[in-house]
């Protein structure tokens, strides 16, 4: 308990004074394979909730909680808990099509290595900021999302130190209504998306491509404030310790998007005249 508290203080301090001393793990010699090697894909299952809660004319609270499972030898996809993930931010609505967010993430990582004798649970910390741009295209909408994360992680090994990395993420996504001419309640839509996650930092020597995620999602807009979606994601990325190895994942994803607005009626209206 004591050590965790220390960790937290240390984290806050290091927001400005960033890592210099955390590279002990990299001392072992890494042998790159002759050809890049793709590992057997893992199967995972994510249940994600996304909240965007209006707290002002231009501000919202971005609250996301994800439950991430992954396979065990006996059970594909949902064998064991992998991470519990909490992402929060304050968002700023610049216009109907453009918004920005800034906030933090705390992720609880569970040790999923069944043979490991290390710690079972470690936290991971991030600061993140995001820039999202939407544009209509015919009946569909397309979205560009730039997300930058400053991330502190540690391994499950007892007393291991945090390493610091920056993540550079760009996601392209479309939402195409299938049974309607626009995205409106009672609409089913299909959403192809591609996200490239690059990373940098002292710990990142030969593996800048952390993850490439290719997803197709089907969603249903139940009300203007509530949407459900489900999809399948394929992802691949370089192993941090050996750039020659590529991890692969197949992930089933289930999403709930909700956007309540607890402001008083008179403050709410007119919603659409943001720029007036």
């Amino acid at each position: 308990m004591e050590s965790r508290k220390n960790n937290f203080i240390w984290l806050v301090m290091s927001l400005l004074v960033v890592t210099g001393s955390v590279s002990a793990q990299e001392e072992e010699k890494v042998e790159l394979p002759f050809e890049s090697e793709y590992k057997e894909p893992k199967t995972k299952l994510w249940v994600n909730t996304y909240g965007k809660i209006r707290i002002g004319k231009r501000l919202f609270w971005d609250a996301q909680t994800h439950f991430r499972f992954e396979e065990t030898k006996a059970t594909p996809f949902i064998g064991q808990v992998g991470q519990i993930y909490n992402r929060h931010a304050i968002g700023y609505i610049y216009s109907k099509k453009v918004n920005f967010s800034l906030g933090g993430v705390v992720r609880i990582n569970f040790n999923t290595d069944e043979d490991s004798e290390d710690r079972n649970v470690v936290p991971e910390w991030r600061i993140w900021h995001q820039y999202q741009f939407a544009q209509p295209l015919y009946t569909a909408m397309i979205y560009h999302r730039i997300r930058i994360e400053h991330r502190w992680t540690q391994s499950f090994v007892e007393n291991s130190e945090y390493i610091f990395r920056n993540r550079w993420r760009y996601m392209f996504r479309a939402k195409i209504p299938l049974n309607s001419h626009k995205l409106k309640p009672k609409t089913i839509y299909v959403s192809p998306e591609a996200e490239l996650i690059m990373q940098s930092g002292k710990a990142v020597v030969g593996s800048p491509m952390e993850d490439l995620r290719l997803t197709t999602t089907f969603g249903y807009i139940a009300t203007p404030r509530l949407t459900f979606a489900t999809g399948l994601m394929y992802s691949q990325g370089q192993d941090l310790t050996n750039a020659g190895y590529y991890k692969q994942n197949w992930t089933l994803r289930f999403h709930m998007y909700y956007s309540p607005d607890f402001r008083r009626v008179k403050n709410k209206l007119p919603e659409i005249h943001l720029d007036d």
Binding site: Q132, K184, P224, R225, T227, L269
Partner: protein
Amino acid sequence: MIYFKKRLVLLISMVFLYHSYGQEKQQYNGPLEVGVYKGKAAYTYVVTEQDTLYDGAFQLQSSNLNALLEEADTSFLMEGRFYKGTPSGPWHFQFGEFQTESESKLVGYEYRVLISGQQEEGRGALSKGKPDGKWLYEVNRIKSSEVETTLFSSVINFKNGVPQQSFQMENDSTVLVGRFLRNGLAHDEWTSYASNDLEDTENWIFDEGLLQEINWTTDGISKKISVFASHNSYKTIALNQGYIDLLKATITSENSIDFKSDVAQLLAENDGYYAKLNGILNEMGPTELTPNFKVKVPFYELDAQQKSDIDQIAQDYKTAKSISDTLLHNSHLNIVRRSDADAQYRYEVVKKIDADFLQPLSTFAKYKEEDILEYMELPKLMQQLWPSGKPSTNIEVVTDSTQATKTFVLANTGEFNFNGNSTKTVAAIAGYARLSLQELMESLSDRLTNEARLQALNGLETDLIAENDTLVSQIDSLLPALPVLYNAPLNNLKKLADKSLGEYASLNNPEEKLAFGNKLKVCLNELQELTGVLGALPATSEEIKILYEDAIWNPFMATVMQEGVKKKVTSAYSEILIPSFLKQATEVDCENAKKLTEQITHTNDRMVKLREEDTKKLERKLRREKNPNEIMKLLHEQSTAKEN
């Protein structure tokens, strides 16, 4: 004094002399009426053999300043000359319809008012009643005392009543130019083009009066139609409405197209104006002021027997048509037939005879009046009159809503042979129609003579029929566009009206009838109102639905979406009240139609108002309430609570 007497005697004898010299011209100034034109006249005349003949200058005019200032004035001016009773010399006609702009200006010592309206002007010379020289006719639209547009104009050159050289006509859409042979026969190419698009043309190609083909060019696409094929015998006739109808008939039966012609339109317009002038002049003296365009047409001579057949056909048609009109427009029969199956059946037979026999025969009769039957091939004409085949002597009609049919046939049906394509055939058809209608008239007569007794109800019955017709056509035009849920309610209104009329017809006592009829009239009116409200309900409720929507910005989609608000209120309205209204309309009768109409309108109004009001409490109450009457009460309470 003696001197004066002498003078007087001299004067009197001079006046006497003057009178005895009968051919001396006299002047008249005063009111005169020529046809429908009443005005102030000034003319000279002579008296020959007790006959007064216009001779010399003539003028008749009317314009009424008071009428003009008050509302509008119809003015006219006609001036010209007569020679021994016959119009001769230059003539000038003006017909105007004007309004003022109710502003006046003083110029010098005159008040001036600007006028707007329409003026027709005809001008030209007559020689012994026939046009001679150039004749102009023009119709202008006048705005602020200036010509704004020319709606029609024609220029024709005549020589002793015969059109010469070339002519030109135009209205606001078409210009037509053509020429004649010396004897007035249309010749060569008559060209018309649209005044706003010179590319659109219509050409009539004549060869010494015989119209050979018509060419159309519209939007760059050309179409050619040959009109009269060569034939061994021709006849020269006037290019009048009859000729145009002949063209229409010939072209329609040859090419199975709908003949529409800008040229024909212009010629007909021009004929109309000339007929107007000719009519006026003929009131005063023998005149032949006609365009007198001549054309040649194929001639299929009719023998004496055929001519007598045709006369017989026209006669039979006239008789039959008058019976059919009597029966179809008899208001009492119209009511009786709702409760009397036999009357209904006979009425349907009359309707069918009118449609299948008399309509085509009316065209035949028209062609006879226009004297153009001799220029048509009879088989082709028959084909045109009955495109889907000649009618049968067995007249089958649907008598009721169950689609049961009944057949009417004359006892001596064997005497009528509808085969063949001769005048005999048409005569048989016309004869059969006449005899059938006469028989129907006889068998219906007992139900028509009642009318005499019910004279007082006549006007009321006409009203009832008219109200019912309005209701039925209102419903029939609404139904196809409405959701299927509305069929039952609206059909019920129709049935209710029909049933009530039947009930009315079955009453015998005139007093009772009058009382019931008056109530029924009110009811029919109320049913029309209800129909209107129900017909508008889908649109009204959609408007209300949209009214109860807020625009919500969805942050995940970056899209504005519509969100329903006050859902308890809207669902009570759309899921309980509207179905309840429809159900009530399905069972409505004359007693409560008005109440239902009011309920629906009131509820719609309330829904509009409630959008802006605080409805928290109301929504809570509505959550439990499923009874439409209670719901309406709650909606209303909300309004009274607010007002208190």
